[in-house]
């Protein structure tokens, strides 16, 4: 007996929704052109470039020292890391040694910056989940403590311009180390509080566990880095893989996720904050006395050649590629922006999820448009 079950096919029009460029949770001016079927995302096309400032070209018209303030404006949530990465590249290019104390101060600043940046990342992610402002305001409170320290050291809260080629611009003030110790003492308690707030929250688990999975293979293939890569189960950390500065002297673990979902990315970031505090404690203990800036000419003229300096920024591998033609300005200046490369996996992670998940997945990558568009 042959019964034919006739499937009823309703032809529906795809529903194109522009998320962004001005949307509450695009973290800047990013635009996602999503094609929806009901609430399910069929396709997603990222549109970049709303914040393009021609930074790479601007940098080629400035001397090596003058570029440092520009790097502040790349990833404005992690200016210290940007400064450091750029200085590493120039030092490699010109073969400049850095005094011991400066190296330690750089490590302290970079790790504080990582904590500050992860606080924003985690807070914004939880805010995207719909936890109305509470987690991000708690985390901004602790970030404020870190910004106070940065303010004390370099006089500004966002665009630090602190690292210099061959060291740091000035020594830390006397009151810095006691304040930092105090911060390190209370910070683990705050992190525990965030964990109590939402780590086991059933709704958060339901929303983020198994959502937006970035498989290990895809993560490696697209060249993802930072917490996004580590959440997918690849223990790749440049601090360990290619130690720069004095990172080979510190003990720390690399937190790794297993599933590669949004929840893992969130967990990896929280764990990294703990590890950063651990590094900070060791760095304070080992902080030597002495010079903070080696003798570097006012106008640096590196020999003809090229150099790539990279570090493990809060968002992934931040690299600066410099080509020198022997003049006072870089001939070519290129930024390997980690979030730009992490974003390339976005469409694959989003396809098949609901529009609410899209925001979550996007938030879990933790982007900074200043860096993506440059």
């Amino acid at each position: 007996m042959a019964t034919s079950t006739k499937e009823i096919v309703i032809n529906t029009e795809p529903f194109v929704v522009n998320i962004g460029p001005a949307h509450p949770s695009t973290h800047g001016v990013f635009r996602m052109r999503t094609t929806l079927d009901g609430e399910v995302i069929v396709d997603m096309e990222p549109v970049f470039g709303y914040l393009h400032r021609g930074l790479e070209k601007l940098a080629e018209e400035r001397t090596y020292t003058q570029v440092i303030p520009l790097t502040d404006r790349l990833d404005y949530l992690a200016s210290m890391s940007n400064n450091l990465a750029y200085c590493l590249a120039v030092e490699k290019l010109a073969g400049i040694a850095v005094p011991e104390r400066a190296e330690y101060i750089r490590v302290i600043m970079a790790e504080l910056q990582r904590v500050a940046s992860h606080l924003i990342a985690v807070g914004a992610f939880l805010n995207d989940c719909g936890a109305f402002m509470t987690p991000i305001l708690y985390m901004l409170r602790e970030r404020e403590r870190i910004l106070d320290l940065f303010d004390m050291v370099c006089g500004q809260r966002l665009t630090y311009n602190y690292m210099r080629v061959g060291g740091v611009s000035q020594d830390v003030p006397d009151e810095f180390i006691p304040a930092l110790k105090k911060f390190l003492k209370e910070m683990p308690g705050w992190i525990d509080e965030y964990e109590r707030l939402l780590k086991e929250n059933e709704i958060l688990l339901a929303r983020s566990k198994g959502v937006g999975i970035l498989s290990r293979g895809l993560a490696i293939n697209i060249g993802a880095s930072g917490p996004v890569l580590r959440a997918s189960g690849v223990p790749w950390d440049i601090r360990r893989a290619d130690p720069y500065s004095v990172y080979d002297r510190f003990e720390f673990d690399i937190p790794v996720g297993l599933a590669g979902d949004c929840y893992d990315r969130y967990r990896v970031r929280v764990e990294e904050m703990r590890q950063s505090l651990r590094i900070l404690r060791q760095a304070i203990k080992g902080l030597p006395r002495g010079q903070v800036r080696s003798e570097v000419p006012h106008l640096i003229r590196p020999p003809i050649g090229e150099a790539y300096g990279h570090l493990e920024g809060p968002r992934g591998e931040l690299g600066f590629y410099l080509v020198s033609d022997g003049s006072i300005a870089p001939y070519r200046f290129h930024v390997r922006a980690p979030t730009f490369i992490n974003l390339t996996a976005l469409a694959d992670m989003m396809r098949g999820w609901k529009i609410a998940d899209a925001i979550l997945i996007f938030g879990s990558i933790d982007i900074c448009m200043g860096e993506v568009d440059r």
Partner: protein, 168 residues
């Protein structure tokens, strides 16, 4: 059989938020309550010491925005340089502090003030008269630790000395 996801996590979260009812908010009511800013604050003006300046123009070269205009003439009588024009357009300035670092004669400083909003762009233009250190236009300790030590101590959130709050 393990029981999970029955609401314990939500209850834990609720306990955290309710505990904040007893805590003091960390925000300050800005115009009434003021915090001491950093001793090294890169404030919104530049301050120039006319006597120490030799007119070498290093600051103008260090500035990557081109906000500093300086022109120097030779004084043949005393056989030395004389600064004809020294102006800063703080509308362009990004307060990176590179000029202060570059000055070899300790003649240029950043200011300690941060409330320098103006109604017109032209008012942001600092000419010679507006660049002198006065009692209102204080000098920040940026790059000069000796000057920084004299300024009031920065209020830090870690010290919880953000002053008494009102308006609760």
């Amino acid at each position: 059989m393990k029981f999970e996801r029955y609401g314990l996590g939500i209850a834990k979260g609720l306990s955290v938020t309710i505990r904040h009812l007893l805590r003091r908010p960390i925000t300050t009511q800005y115009p009434e309550q003021r915090l001491n800013v950093s001793r090294r604050i890169r404030g919104n003006e530049l301050i120039w010491n006319k006597d120490k300046c030799t007119g070498c123009g290093t600051c103008a070269k260090a500035c990557h925005i081109g906000a500093i205009h300086i022109s120097t003439s030779t004084n043949l009588v005393d056989n030395k340089y004389e600064v004809q024009k020294y102006e800063v357009d703080t509308g362009y300035c990004i307060f990176c502090g590179l000029c202060v670092e570059a000055c070899p004669f300790e003649a240029l400083f950043l200011s300690y003030d941060y409330e320098c909003a103006r109604y017109r762009r032209n008012d942001l233009f600092q000419d010679r008269e507006k660049m002198v250190e006065t009692s209102e236009r204080k000098v920040s300790g940026y790059f000069y630790p000796g000057r920084a030590a004299k300024l009031p101590r920065q209020s830090l959130l870690v010290d919880n000395d953000r002053g008494k709050r009102n308006g609760r």
